[in-house]
């Protein structure tokens, strides 16, 4: 305690707070007032955030159209893999009752497509995609080489199974002439993906750059002809390709397809009116009992249209309050009981 180290007391332990386990400590105590106020505060906070989030999510306009059923004949056609070269288009008219303000994003959404399968995720070659070594197809089996041994570019199951529908949104301004809604196919990827992780081999001519490789078996066109309109959007730098290569977390997912180019009629967003999707149906989903849909949506700071986060906050807040009320009841009850025991 207060013994001091004298000569010869060589074994006297140091009397420091740490060694004597006497460090000043805050003692966590679940006292009634502390817990109750803590619970109340948490409840208030959660409810507040929850309500904000819900309101926020409510402000989002979103429209989703499943087109597997609508384009049933196309779906049937694609079920047979041998019909891959037959083109099938499908038009889906719809009515937008409200204007979608601000930036509008177009997604395609797949149901029941397991992009998170362990073996599926592995089946890609990052070094090929970054353009350094086109012939590196290490992890891509079985989509690494074609039958004659030429390496596939881009190799792997992910690339092979790319979503290859074409969706064009048309606006029927005067119910006669459909106007093609201007959409941007750029800016839909992570910046780092587009500029760091994916690179084309450095050649003047893309097709010669990819010489000596072959296209994935399911693909109709080689990788350097993915975008016929924009030569810069070809090869590994194709935005749709990059988006696809970022494997989704769940079997049901949507991926950003296009974003609204806010020009002409669409500077404020998508005005209300009649629209239609013109879809070139390529991607077979009925084979895995999946579905696909196209989604138009706006965004806020808190993400997409999902109400869940807001609900989670609200529910947590409510539960916290409930808990604190019940604890208060217990506490009050206990006060009486304590009195009783003291009397005893």
């Amino acid at each position: 305690m207060k013994r001091t180290s004298k000569d010869g007391r060589c074994k006297l332990p140091d009397n420091t707070a740490l060694k004597q386990q006497q460090l000043p400590a805050y003692r966590l105590q679940l006292s009634a007032t502390g817990v109750l106020s803590g619970f109340f505060a948490t409840g208030v906070f959660c409810l507040g955030v929850g309500i904000i989030l819900i309101l926020n999510a409510k402000s989002i306009k979103e429209i989703e159209i499943k087109y597997t059923e609508i384009c049933g004949n196309c779906a049937k056609l694609r079920e047979d893999a041998t019909n891959f070269d037959k083109e099938c288009t499908c038009s889906i008219p719809f009515y937008l009752s409200e204007t979608m303000q601000g930036n509008v994003y177009m997604y395609y959404k797949l149901y029941g497509f397991y992009q998170n399968l362990y073996r599926y995720i592995l089946s890609r070659s990052n070094s090929q995609l970054v353009g350094t070594d086109l012939k590196d197809v290490g992890n891509c089996a079985p989509f690494s080489k074609s039958h004659d041994g030429t390496p596939i570019a881009p190799c792997g199951a992910i690339a092979n199974s790319i979503f290859n529908d074409t969706i064009i949104l048309s606006y029927n301004l005067n119910s006669s002439i459909p106007i093609k809604v201007p959409m941007l196919r750029s800016g839909i990827t992570w910046w780092t993906d587009k500029y760091v992780k994916f690179q084309n081999p450095s050649y003047i001519n893309l097709s010669s750059a990819f010489a000596g490789t072959t296209k994935p078996p399911s693909w109709a066109k080689p990788v350097y002809e993915l975008d016929e309109e924009d030569p810069g959007n070809n090869g590994f730098l194709n935005d749709d390709f990059i988006v696809w290569m970022r494997t989704a977390a769940f079997p049901t997912f949507k991926k950003l397809y296009r974003r609204l180019n806010r020009i002409q009629y669409f500077t404020e967003g998508l005005p209300a009116g009649n629209y239609s999707f013109n879809i070139t149906y390529n991607f077979p989903v009925t084979r895995f009992r999946g579905e696909k849909s196209v989604v138009l949506s706006t965004l806020t700071w808190s993400g997409g249209s999902s109400l869940f986060l807001g609900l989670a906050y609200t529910v947590t807040g409510a539960v916290t309050w409930l808990a604190s009320f019940s604890m208060m009841a217990v506490h009050l009850m206990l006060k009486d009981r304590k009195m009783l025991f003291i009397q005893q």
Partner: protein, 1476 residues
């Protein structure tokens, strides 16, 4: 394979054949001097050359040299050997297996190299720890190997300094006083004239009293200095073994004569030479073949109870893992089948284009899942636990409160891995002497010739010491009659003693302890403190002694001087002579060890030379009587006996004058206490003062084998009867008037625990009679007395004296004093001669020697004349009653196993609060197996009749427990008076029989404390083993070779109640937290399988997955595991019952484990589904979604830990902050390091992107809160509705620290016994009241005993049986006449004291002396089985010095060696059983 010594190894020598033969039987080893040429080589020159060669070669090949090597590894062998050892741990094998599984492409889940990382990390950490330990071992080995010692060199023909490691078998080693013995050495020569040597075996067994070792017969008589060059004998002895208490062999001289070698001839490595100037011996066993090292089995690995439970839960986790994997595999199989018919786009076929069949896919998935979910088996758990335990041990070491200033020692933990067991102890087994008491024997009172001398002044003196002790340790004792100088000087010596003692607790002989000891070579040991030395004599008795002295001085010239004394005075005189000489006390001066005495008396004492001169020429009367004995011993004996002739010569008076002249300067009545006090009544006032002055110059110091002996010698010195010199064949006693009396010492029959007595045979210088003085336990000595007829007056007088003495003995026992009886026998020359003859035969017999010696001793020690009895107090250590009270409140059942007699034990038990006046004491004293069984049945019946109350008590315990801190603990803990059990050694022997042990244990279980009196060491260990095996309880036994060494008993309180509780609760919580953490983490992965087709995919990046447990989340829990204090120390100490939480395993039991797991499952559900639902229907990719989950998991873990952590120090904050910081830093760096690496996650810029996403923050905020909400809620509700005791303690401590102190004070007043002083006075009143009632019982039983007094009574069962029945009847009579209230037949006494007023208790507790009826004089034949006297050295098996209170949790690794051969012990150590 026995390694033969070099001498027998020479090829082509005649010894070769013999060697082969030896190899065949392999029982013995032959040792020859290394200085001799090897056998078979006649030519000395060639022999020398060959010898040198042999030496070289032999050193490499065959000799076990003295080099100590305790390291496990060499540089080369470290890696393979260490890995091999690490793979003994199943967990490591498992983890390596999992990691290797990753190398199989079909099932791999992680990058193979990465998967190995954690395993390698863990292995590396452990390897590093092992390496460090091994290195420190190496260093200490090196230190010891390079200690120096004198070895005889053949080349230089003298002793030269060599390192220890260079000593070889067959070398001659010369050791000086206070040197440590480097190897097992056969003692060949000693500077001591008797050929004796004293060693202190503290390094081996912790006993600080000195043991005697004897020069091999045939060497002690050498007149000249021992010359190793002339040593040509061959030594045959046993193979090296680890039996410390046994050594057998023989030495074959050139002449072909054989002499036996015994344990007494062997100096053991690690012991210290004391009191002997120099010894020479030949090395018999060296290095690792020494007994000390063979006993050193290295550090022990014990598995704590908590760890066992944890391992069981790990197995549950394995099962869970397998279940999860199986579930997942089946799921995957089904999933594959579902998508099998049509090739889906996301299907990844085999290389040949075919898809996996569902079954194959399921099998692969199973294996991959095992890899992915391996986190469930916490890889870092074992390492973390080890780290935490090391830190806990460190903090226990560092506790100032456990530091003993007096001995400068702290508590030591030797077993690093059982600290948490300290928090779960249910039973404590303790010795009494040296454990509860200080082992400082103080003479308190005595009775001589039936008259009691109460020594009131002495009692007051002791009281003063107690006060002085308690006030301030540094203060000089303020005893009025104490000269300053003496007390200061001796105080110092006390400290020195303790300092030397403090080092002995190092178990590893030949370890650092030895090195430390080497630095203390000059220090002494075995001194007595002033308290033990300064005895204030009783004036009445002193007057009588002086009268004797004067009377004898005047009557001396006459023919029979003793006849002039009255019988009483004669008894007084004999009593003090017996006290002075009937022992083995060695006289030394403070600054020097015992001199080479031979030289001394040639120079200083001419009388001695005259004596010697005369002795040589005087005809011996005895040689004629026993001329047939031709052995060396006989020569010695006759040699001895010749000297006594001198004193009977007619020129006695002239001699006397000579002696007187010489004696005065040498006189040493060194009693400080006496010197001033005696001045008033001593007529030779001035003479005494002069003596005192002289005595200042040369203070006598007594060194005894046991403190009891020293106490008696100091007591005698206080009565002017001072032991001034002890030589091999004579003892000198200094008396004021008579001057120096020199008693010729014919024989010493040392103390042993079987006989429980010791005797000396002397020739009395005044009467020239041969006297036997016997000192021993009253139970033994009283049986050996000369039967006295009641016909004549003398006989009646004798009988009266005996009964009076017996009464006083009982009184002493009631006072808690250790009693000894002193008796005397006069032998005629013829009797002695005959006895001597048979005794010498016994001594020289090779086999059955012990038995024969025992018989011989019995023949001598019989028909004794009782002189008196002494009462020695062994003071309780400071704080013992308080500690025991606390420990009992803490729910610990305390067993005290002592060799004391029942009354003594009971009274000490009351004094130290082991027994309480409020509780019922069941006393079990049975004389036979049947009686014991009946008694047990009765007691059980009684216990069961009152047990219905105790049964619901347990269930109701929770309720009463809840509010107990607010009310006095004693009322809450038990509903009725609790039980205690007292059992004596004999009954214990019966009760430990197979058919009774269950009953006995059941009974003992009901009792809060158990006191076993008169128990032998063997019984003690049996009891501990029984309880441990049958009750499956956590036991703590206080022993020598132990896991923890506590400086004092009272530290036990803090060690168990505070540190034990903390360690347990910390570790339990940490283990639970580990399981929680891993389950929760694995849960996240498992839930994900439902969304990825059970394909064993993980959304968490593999780096996070692998390093999460190891790095990101490990530090905070370590800090909490090391530092958390669930209840502050003072609270734990004030409310010891909080300790019960550990005993009942409240913190970590199967239920808490599963609740914990359920909570983990819930939390993982929340932490999975909140991010899942938040990201459902969004465009996040797998790992961008998985990273927030990792972060959420981290936050949840930290918050969870925060809830579980009871005290938050800055270290906790830093650790948590560090964890978070580390995670994000690593994540950011990792995610920025490589754009295309780390498949499959390829996490480039993920964390950076996430940090810009509000959803990330929102989920990270809500998920941990929602996950922990239920836990927090239930904890809060439970804490306020059904708080556990610990929670209440916490609340109380938190609420008001001041109030706590106040309550502590009231608590101390209310529940601790008042002051020890008042307590003892109360005791006294009880005992005196009991004393009267006992008077007649003891007499009554006295009659019954008489048949047993016959010398033949020993060892014949039929006689014993008869005696037993006889005695039982008398006992019953006594009982019915004495205590009509207690109608228990056969002597079970249940003391009822149903918690009323204390007054009533004291009156009824007279039953304590009452119960002693059953223990009245025992019969000798059974005694030796069942009891162990504490009188002396043997008791020291468990008689530790106070600074070496040690304890052992489970198995002690080796047995302390008793100083005397003890069959019980031999058997015990042979079986390798434990001594508790």
């Amino acid at each position: 394979m026995e390694r033969e010594p070099a001498a027998a190894e020479e090829p082509r020598s005649p010894g070769r054949r013999r060697r082969r033969r030896r190899r065949g039987d392999g029982r013995t080893r032959v040792v020859r001097s290394n200085l001799l040429p090897p056998p078979g080589v006649e030519d000395p020159a060639a022999g020398a050359a060959k010898g040198a060669r042999r030496r070289r070669r032999g050193g490499a090949q065959h000799l076990a040299d003295n080099r100590l090597k305790t390291t496990k590894y060499t540089l080369l062998s470290f890696l393979p050997k260490n890995l091999f050892e690490q793979f003994h741990r199943l967990a490591n094998v498992y983890f390596v297996f999992i990691a290797l599984l990753n190398f199989v492409p079909a099932v791999n889940a992680f990058q193979p190299g990465l998967a190995l990382a954690p395993v390698l990390f863990i292995l590396a950490v452990t390897a590093f720890k092992d390496l460090w330990e091994d290195y420190s071992r190496h260093r200490s080995d090196h230190e010891i190997n390079h200690l120096g010692c004198l070895v005889f060199s053949r080349e230089e023909k003298q002793y030269v300094n060599r390192f220890w490691k260079e000593i070889r078998v067959g070398d001659f080693v010369r050791l000086r006083c206070n040197e440590i013995i480097p190897a097992d050495i056969l003692l060949l020569s000693s500077s001591d004239p008797d050929g004796l040597c004293h060693i202190e075996t503290a390094n081996l067994d912790g006993e600080t009293n000195l043991k005697r070792r004897q020069v091999v017969r045939g060497f002690s008589e050498l007149v000249s200095e021992f010359n190793p060059l002339t040593f040509t004998s061959v030594i045959e002895c046993e193979k090296p073994n680890n039996d410390l208490s046994r050594f057998r062999g023989c030495i074959i001289h050139d002449s072909g004569k054989k002499a036996g070698l015994y344990k007494e001839n062997l100096l053991l490595r690690g012991c210290t030479i004391r009191n002997t100037e120099a010894v020479v011996g030949i090395v018999i066993y060296a290095g690792h073949e020494t007994k000390a090292l063979l006993n050193n089995s290295g550090p022990r690995y014990k598995r704590s109870q908590l760890e066992r439970q944890m391992n069981c839960d790990v197995l549950w986790c394995v099962l869970l893992l397998v279940c999860m994997s199986l579930f997942s595999a089946v799921g995957h199989g089904l999933w594959v089948r579902r998508y099998q018919e049509k090739k889906s786009l996301f299907d990844v076929p085999e290389s040949d284009g075919s898809s996996l069949s569902p079954v194959t896919a399921a099998v692969y998935s199973f294996l991959t899942m095992i890899i992915v979910l391996q986190v469930l088996i916490p890889i870092s758990l074992y390492v973390s636990i080890e780290i935490v335990k090391v830190c806990q041990v460190y903090f226990i070491h560092q506790d100032v409160e456990l530091y003993d200033e007096e001995t400068d020692s702290q508590l030591q933990c030797r077993a690093l891995n059982i600290t948490e067991d300290l928090g779960q102890i249910q039973y404590i087994f303790s010795d009494k002497t040296g454990t509860l008491t200080e082992n400082k024997m103080v003479f308190r009172r005595c009775t001589v010739s039936g008259i009691e001398y109460s020594h009131d002044a002495n009692a007051q003196r002791l009281a003063r010491y107690q006060e002085a002790d308690s006030e301030e340790e540094e203060a000089v004792p303020r005893g009025g009659s104490l000269p300053q100088r003496g007390s200061i000087g001796s105080h110092q010596s006390v400290r020195v003693m303790h300092r030397t003692q403090s080092t002995k607790s190092h178990r590893r002989t030949g370890s650092r302890a030895e090195a430390k000891r080497a630095s203390m070579l000059s220090k002494h040991t075995a001194f007595s403190s002033p308290m033990e030395k300064d005895i204030t004599p009783d004036p009445k008795l002193l007057e009588k002694v002086n009268e004797c002295d004067r009377c004898l001085a005047t009557a001396r010239p006459q023919e029979r001087p003793l006849a002039h004394l009255s019988p009483e005075l004669s008894d007084v005189f004999d009593f003090f002579i017996a006290l002075t000489i009937c022992n083995t006390v060695v006289v030394t001066s403070p600054d020097q060890p015992r001199q080479k005495v031979r030289v001394r008396f040639e120079v200083k004492s001419p009388v001695k030379t005259i004596e010697d001169f005369l002795r040589r020429f005087s005809p011996s009367r005895l040689t004629s009587g026993c001329s047939s004995i031709g052995s060396l011993t006989a020569n010695k004996a006759t040699h001895k006996s010749g000297s006594n002739f001198l004193s009977t010569l007619s020129n006695d008076s002239t001699l006397f004058k000579l002696e007187e002249r010489l004696g005065q300067p040498a006189a040493a009545i060194a009693s400080n206490g006496y010197s001033s006090g005696a001045a008033s009544w001593g007529p030779e006032h001035t003479a005494q003062e002069q003596k005192l002055q002289r005595e200042q110059e040369r203070e006598l110091r007594y060194e005894a084998e046991s403190p009891d002996e020293a106490a008696l010698v100091y007591a005698a010195r206080a009565y002017n009867c001072a032991l001034v010199d002890r030589l091999h064949d004579q003892v000198s006693v200094e008396l004021p008037h008579l001057g120096r009396l020199t008693f010729e010492l014919l024989h010493t029959l040392g103390f042993d625990s079987i006989r429980k007595r010791m005797s000396v045979v002397i020739r009395h210088p005044l009467t020239d009679e041969i006297n036997v003085y016997t000192k021993g336990a009253d139970s033994v000595v009283m049986d050996l007395l000369l039967p006295c007829s009641s016909d004549d007056a003398r006989g009646r007088h004798q009988k009266k004296i005996r009964s009076k003495t017996q009464n006083y003995l009982n009184l002493y026992a009631v006072e808690g004093l250790r009693t000894l009886c002193i008796a005397k026998r006069v032998l005629s020359e013829e009797e002695y001669a005959c006895w001597l003859q048979s005794h010498l035969e016994a001594e020289s017999s090779l086999d059955n020697r012990e038995e024969l010696l025992f018989q011989s001793a019995i023949r001598l020690e019989t028909n004794l004349h009782l002189l008196g009895a002494t009462g020695i107090e062994d003071r309780l250590q400071d704080g013992v009653p308080e500690t025991i009270a606390k420990l009992r409140q803490a729910g610990l059942q305390i067993w005290v196993l002592t060799g004391d007699k029942q009354e003594t034990a009971i009274n000490i038990a009351y004094a130290c609060k082991l027994l309480d006046h409020d509780e019922e004491v069941i006393t079990l004293n049975a004389e036979s197996q049947e009686a014991c069984a009946a008694l047990l049945d009765q007691c059980l019946h009684y216990v069961q009749s009152r047990s219905p109350r105790s049964a619901p008590e347990k269930t109701a315990g929770n309720v009463s427990v809840g509010f107990s801190p607010l009310c006095p603990p004693s009322t809450s803990t038990t509903s009725g008076p609790s039980l205690s059990l007292v059992i004596d050694g004999r009954s214990l022997a019966y009760a430990l029989e197979k058919n009774l042990e269950d009953k006995f244990l059941f009974l003992a279980k009901q009792c809060r404390s158990v006191l076993c009196c008169r128990s032998t060491p063997l019984q003690k260990s049996m009891v501990v083993k029984l309880v441990r095996s049958k009750l499956k309880a956590m036991t703590l036994a206080i022993v020598m070779a132990s896991d923890f060494a506590v400086p004092r008993f009272r530290y036990l309180e803090r060690l168990l109640i505070v540190h034990g509780h903390w360690c347990y609760s910390r570790l339990a919580n940490m283990v639970l937290y580990f399981f929680y953490k891993n389950t929760m983490f694995v849960g996240l992965l498992f839930w994900f399988q439902f969304y990825c087709g059970f394909s064993a995919s993980a959304m968490i990046d593999q780096w996070y997955l692998i390093f999460f447990n190891l790095l990101f989340s490990s530090l905070p829990q370590l800090v909490t595991g090391v530092l958390d204090k669930d209840v502050p120390a003072d609270m734990l100490l004030t409310e010891p019952q909080l300790y019960k939480s550990g005993q009942n395993m409240e913190e970590y039991r199967p239920r808490t484990f599963w609740l914990n797991m359920a909570d983990a499952a819930f939390q993982s559900l929340v932490c999975f589904f909140i991010p899942y639902l938040a990201c459902y229907d969004s465009d996040t990719d797998v790992f961008t979604w998985g990273t927030p989950i990792t972060a959420i998991a981290l936050f949840t873990f930290l918050l969870h830990l925060g809830i579980e952590t009871k005290t938050w120090t800055w270290l906790n904050w830093i650790a948590c902050g560090f964890s978070i910081l580390l995670f994000f830093t690593v994540a950011l760096i990792y995610n920025a390091s490589c754009a295309t690496c780390y498949p499959p996650s390829n996490p480039y810029w993920t964390m950076q992107t996430l940090l810009g996403d509000p959803v990330f923050y929102l989920t990270c905020l809500i998920a941990p809160v929602a996950a922990l909400l239920p836990r927090l809620f239930f904890k809060a509700v439970q804490g306020s509705l059904f708080p556990t005791q610990l929670q209440l303690g916490r609340q109380l401590a938190k609420r008001s620290p001041k109030k706590l102190i106040a309550s502590k004070e009231t608590f101390a007043q209310g529940h601790l016994p008042g002051e020890p002083r008042t307590e003892s006075s109360e005791q006294k009143s009880i005992s005196t009241s009991g004393h009267l009632s006992q008077d007649c019982t003891s007499q009554a039983s006295w009659h019954g005993q008489r048949p047993a007094c016959s010398p033949e009574a020993s060892g014949e069962p039929s006689v014993v049986d008869m005696n037993v029945t006889l005695r039982e009847n008398i006992l019953l009579e006594g009982l019915s006449s004495q205590a009509p209230g207690s109608s228990m037949p056969r002597g079970a006494i249940l003391e009822g004291c149903p918690g009323d007023s204390k007054m009533k208790c004291t009156s009824t507790s007279r039953a304590a002396p009452l119960s002693s009826i059953f223990n009245l004089p025992n019969f000798s034949s059974l005694n030796w089985i069942s009891s162990l006297s504490l009188v002396s050295g043997l008791g020291s098996v468990l008689q530790f010095s106070r600074s070496s209170l040690q304890m052992d949790k489970q198995d002690s690794e080796f047995l302390p060696s008793p100083p005397q051969p003890d069959q019980d012990l031999c058997g015990l150590s042979g079986q390798g059983t434990d001594y508790f």
